[in-house]
């Protein structure tokens, strides 16, 4: 039975650490069964213990130890690495923000502690890193490099790429995508990250595979609508993405009606401060994320494929709280990493999205200017097999 160390920022109800780790402790729904991973959480490091901390209760009930340092959690008082995998969850908790409004979660620092133990003890084990690798591309790059240098499996990212899709579509590998657009909601930088990764897991399947990002630009406010009129993003794709939304606001909330939000003019009224994230790839492909707070509450994607008159579109289904079963979809992938040692999809996806988001935020910070991103020359191939929940 594989032995798991959990390294986290906080452990309280509905934190990522709670619902991720608990699934290893009490099982989770998988393919129509209640699945209990054949693995045991043996140690935990928790950086902060705010009110509502559950770490000691869980340790007592499920028979694992809470250690004061990451190195000790990995070595379990045995003097050398004593676990087979690491679940690293640097999300939630009280951490400072930088001038780009990024919360400085210590994922890189936690990861480096693990890598230090791997180096000293002469053995490396798979790591799952929740969400983006780091707020900083430079740090994120070092993390991926470490995984290659020490040859351990590294998986990272959001639940959105692996959750249910409504409808259940996948772009065929090597497809000809002409244009892509994602709509999302929520704050920056947590939710724009999820939306960008959802978009990336679709567009990485284009012909030639992922070539990296050449330039980005993030604009806000009225300029977003102007950019649409100027053809920088496609109204047809916005209509396609919105056709998948179950959560239009405004008149729908008032009396339940369906809405043609683009043609009835409500969209512009409802979105107080829209944002557009323009991503230009090295192969010339362009994709756009629109954050539309106030208009909808879900995450939808649309793409124009060459030779197809109707765009493809889908909703990334964020299943309801508190079950958040979308995280069960991600746990299944983490389990696969821990079981086989190999990541079911490349960490380069998350690396690229981490870097693209950071550069977008720099663009905003510099007056929304377009920024060239030669450092984001991250190339990779999408997994052949679909990775999202579909059975």
């Amino acid at each position: 039975m594989k032995r798991i160390a959990v390294i986290t920022t906080i452990y309280r109800y509905l934190s990522h650490a709670q619902h991720f780790t608990d699934r290893f402790l009490v099982g989770y729904p998988k393919e129509g069964r209640w699945h209990h991973p054949n693995m045991k959480v043996v140690s935990l490091y928790v950086d902060q213990k705010p009110e509502g901390d559950q770490s000691s209760d869980r340790a007592r009930e499920f028979g694992f130890s809470v250690y004061p340092t990451i190195a000790e959690a990995l070595r379990c008082s045995e003097g050398k690495l004593a676990v087979d995998a690491v679940l690293l969850i640097g999300e939630h908790g009280d951490y400072p923000q930088n001038e780009l409004n990024q919360i400085l979660y210590p994922r890189y620092e936690f990861f480096k502690e693990c890598v230090k133990v791997f180096g000293e003890d002469g053995r490396a084990v798979p790591i799952f890193n929740d969400k983006h690798l780091s707020y900083s591309f430079e740090k994120a790059k070092k993390m991926v490099d470490d995984a290659y240098r020490l040859s351990f499996g590294l998986l990272a990212g959001s639940s959105l790429p692996v959750t249910w899709r409504l409808p259940d579509i996948e772009l065929s590998l090597e497809c000809d995508i002409e244009d892509a657009l994602m709509v999302g909601v929520g704050g920056s930088d947590p939710m724009d990250y999820h939306a960008l990764e959802a978009m990336q897991c679709m567009v990485e399947r284009r012909k030639g595979g992922e070539t990296g990002v050449a330039a980005v630009q993030l604009i806000d406010g009225e300029r977003v609508w102007q950019a649409g009129e100027d053809g920088r993003w496609s109204t047809e794709l916005l209509e396609a993405a919105l056709s998948r939304s179950d959560t239009p606001c405004g008149l729908t909330e008032k009396d339940g009606r369906t809405q043609d939000m683009i043609r009835n003019g409500e969209l512009q009224k409802l979105v107080q401060n829209p944002s557009a994230y323009f991503i230009e790839y090295n192969d010339g492909f362009k994709a756009t994320l629109l954050m539309l707070n106030g208009a909808i509450k879900d995450y939808c994607f649309a793409a124009k494929l060459q030779g197809e008159s109707v765009p493809v579109s889908t909703q990334f289904f964020l299943t309801p709280t508190p079950n958040v079963t979308y995280s069960a979809c991600l746990i299944a992938k983490i389990e696969e990493l821990f079981e086989t040692g190999a990541a079911p999809y490349p960490a380069e996806r998350t690396l690229l999205v981490s870097g693209a988001l950071e550069s977008c935020l720099i663009s905003r910070h510099q007056g929304s200017k377009r920024i060239e991103t030669p450092h984001l020359n991250v190339t990779y191939q999408a997994p052949t097999k679909s990775q999202h929940a579909r059975c």
Partner: protein, 397 residues
């Protein structure tokens, strides 16, 4: 038929989140469908609303859509004020509104009465047009059977039922066609003579695809409260299927504080579900189906069955994007309206109304069983046989 069919809507009430609002609004305002905001290629020209109260929206809709006219009677709604039938399709939405209940707890929605007023116009005009009836045909089995027989005799396209058979599924799978099915379970939520119908339609749209098609139902027995738990412990229905259905839920009530998604023990389920209900029934070909309502434990509809010669478990959730807690739109009405549109355009029902005739009879039998302390109800009248559509009709695109 003209290029744009004229449609009449007959509704009990029209307020926010009433079925009339969900359905009629989609004809008027359009709805998101397959990457477009889709406008049905037909005109909703007339509306009858039986109850107009403070929360009414029909006045607003009539004002904003002047091509739709309100009429004071069902007959005039269908004749557009003239002598003869003047529309090409009818929506009959008898759900919600202030109607009495009978001693068995059934809400006496006037679907039969509205239908018969419509039939009077059809007969007078010597023709019928396609009709959609929302939910079950009637609370009264004999009336439902009469409605069905009339539609057969007059030979107009007739569709009815719930959104559950046509909504999204997670996973997006259908029952394979023409394979053996030995047992099926649906675990849902809600009350008797309301959501039981949705759960029965969930079951039926799947099991009707089994080897030989639908054979009808021999008997039904309902269980409630302690009797339910005794029947459960006696494994009257498969625990494996019951648990598989629960494992498709996105809304399992956490049985332990501080945990967001544990699987409940039997004792915890008993604590959480105060009034469990099951309708357990046998089809003519021996298939056993069980409709289970676990209010308090789940807020979604989940299906599981033993399929094929090796009795493999097939399970899925029929997903309802349900406002107001989780969404703002009840978008499971979109595939329902899309199917209705196809019927209005082609003059052919996209799936058999016999399904809903059968589930209507099953609801009535379930209500009768519960009313008589869980007595077994023989159902020779439910010898309803039919074949499923070859193509899947649930929302996949």
């Amino acid at each position: 038929m003209q290029s744009r069919p004229k449609i009449a809507a007959i509704a009990t009430i029209y307020h926010k989140y009433s079925h009339a609002q969900h359905i009629v609004d989609r004809f008027l305002e359009g709805y998101g469908w397959n990457s477009r905001h889709h406008y049905p290629p037909m005109d909703l020209v007339s509306l009858y609303v039986e109850q107009v109260k403070d929360n009414d929206l029909s006045k607003d809709r009539l004002e904003r859509f002047p091509t739709m006219k309100g009429y004071p009677t069902i007959a005039e709604t269908l004749t557009l004020g003239g002598d003869n039938l003047a529309v090409d399709g009818v929506l009959l939405i008898g759900e919600h509104g202030d109607y009495p209940s009978n001693e068995k707890g059934q809400r006496l929605y006037p679907r039969y009465e509205h239908f018969m007023q419509m039939i009077e116009v059809f007969e007078r005009s010597r023709r019928g047009v396609p009709v959609f009836i929302d939910k079950h045909l009637s609370w009264n089995w004999e009336w439902a059977r009469e409605m069905y027989d009339i539609s057969q005799n007059m030979d107009f396209a007739f569709m009815a039922g719930s959104s559950l058979p046509v909504t999204w599924r997670t996973p997006s799978i259908d029952m394979p066609l023409d394979v053996p099915v030995s047992e099926a379970v649906c675990v849902g939520y809600g009350g008797v003579d309301s959501y039981d119908f949705h759960a029965l339609e969930t079951l039926q749209c799947m099991v009707e695809r089994r080897e030989g098609g639908e054979s009808g139902v021999k008997w039904l027995q309902a269980y409630r409260g302690d009797a339910f738990w005794k029947a459960h412990q006696a494994e009257l229905w498969s625990h494996e299927l019951f648990e598989s259905a629960l494992c498709r839920s996105h809304t399992l009530t956490p049985s332990r504080q501080g945990f967001n998604n544990p699987f409940p023990t039997l004792d915890e389920m008993k604590e959480i579900v105060k009034n469990p209900i099951a309708y357990h029934y046998e089809h003519q070909d021996g298939l056993k189906s069980t409709m289970i309502l676990m209010s308090g434990l789940v807020q979604d509809f989940n299906f599981a069955a033993y399929v094929g010669t090796e009795n493999k478990v097939l399970s899925t959730q029929m997903y309802l994007p349900m406002p107001p807690a989780r969404t703002t739109l009840a978008n499971f009405f979109s595939p329902l309206v899309n199917n209705i549109e196809q019927m209005f355009l082609t003059g052919k029902a996209t799936y058999p109304v016999e399904r809903t005739l059968l589930t209507t009879g099953l609801v009535a039998a379930g209500v009768d069983s519960l009313y008589t302390d869980g007595s077994k109800q023989d159902t020779p009248h439910l010898d309803i046989t039919y074949q499923p559509t070859e193509e899947s009709t649930f929302w996949r695109t």
